[in-house]
């Protein structure tokens, strides 16, 4: 079965979704990601969906769930690179993903994560970078 790679970058995890998501894959990602967060005690998760062209309500809910789960595990989630068509679809479906933070691209998302972590735990962050 295909798998979505989860890359570790310092304190953060980078998930790049390159294939069309189907429901099983989404569930597997949820499992893997929560596992990985607790393993690496990551502080932030970046989900890059810039190559995702089709999003249905299930995938939308999954994104929201992942954000909520990560928050429980004390990691912040940023969804980056959403395409205009996908954004419009989600809004039309009535899903505004209230708990999810968003950024234009991986760069901006990384900055957002750093800023918010700096604000909260400067000491810990300072020792790492």
């Amino acid at each position: 079965m295909e798998k979505i790679p989860i890359l570790r970058m310092g304190d953060f995890l980078l998930v790049t979704i390159q294939v069309d998501m189907h429901d099983r894959l989404a569930m597997a990602l949820q499992d893997d990601l929560t596992q990985k967060i607790s393993e690496t005690s990551a502080r932030g998760v970046l989900i890059d969906i810039s190559s995702l062209e089709i999003v249905d309500s299930f995938i939308g809910r999954m994104l929201g769930n992942i954000a909520a789960m990560s928050r429980v595990l004390d990691a912040q989630t940023v969804v980056v690179g959403m395409r205009p068509a996908v954004a419009i679809t989600l809004v039309e479906l009535g899903m505004s993903l209230p708990g999810v933070r968003t950024a234009l691209n991986v760069d901006a998302g990384m900055e957002l994560l750093r800023e918010s972590l700096n604000g909260h735990e400067g000491i810990r962050h300072g020792s790492n970078f």
Partner: protein
Amino acid sequence: MDKGLQNRQAGLSEILTKDESSLLADWLKEMSGSVRRSDLIKESELRSESALFLKLLRQGVDSGGYDIDGAAWQPMRELLAEISRSRAQQGFTPTETATFVLSFKKPLFKAIRTRFEKDADALATELWSATALLDSLGLYTIETYIKTRDAVIRRQQEEMLELSTPVVKLWDGILALPIIGTLDSARTQVVMETLLESIVKTNSKVAIIDITGVPTVDTVVAQHLLKTVTAARLMGADCIISGVRPQIAQTIVHLGINLLDVTTKATLSDAFRLALQRTGLSLGRTSNHTAQKTA
């Protein structure tokens, strides 16, 4: 009944065949008095159109009876559609367009009267069916005329839609979208798409939606605005709504619309200042200018 109908058709068809040239001459004379607009259409063009009309009318009557929706009338329908299309574009009024067909009544009735002079009963039925036929052809002309006008109006609407949604880049990473006119759902779709595309293209973090030009904000418009803001947020861009007039602020509160999740500003300049702040920029007076002022 069938036989009678056939007879009648034969009668009309015969008239159309035998008196074709005199009918055409009479008709053209008739039109020159009422509908011919020599400023809009050439005599020769009108003549060839009329001759073709007569020919197709005869063909239709010969093979298809009086029901102009039938297959036999297809060429006639095409001719009338073409005529009313070109008339609509040339600037004829609907009356002038329809009278092209209706003015044929007078010469035709004259010919019918001459032929059935002695048979009052046949004359009446013949006149009635000719009237019905020409009326339905006239109505068809009007219908096509209106359809053509509708198509023109629709095209202009679409063009206006595209013209009216410019996205302006104010600064690196700051976009502005001045909305003029009412926001309906079709327009929201276009606005949303252009805004989101521009956000991706210019890599912008902040988008200012200026609603100074929106005459009224009701629940529907507010919902459309919120949709656009949410979509932009999903892409990772902040939205600021500016240009909220006092009147509109009152309406929004009275309607109980919740805009708490959205930053709103009274003027575009306020919104721009906030946007600069959010992108980590600030504007200040140069010392030179201050010196000039104090001097």
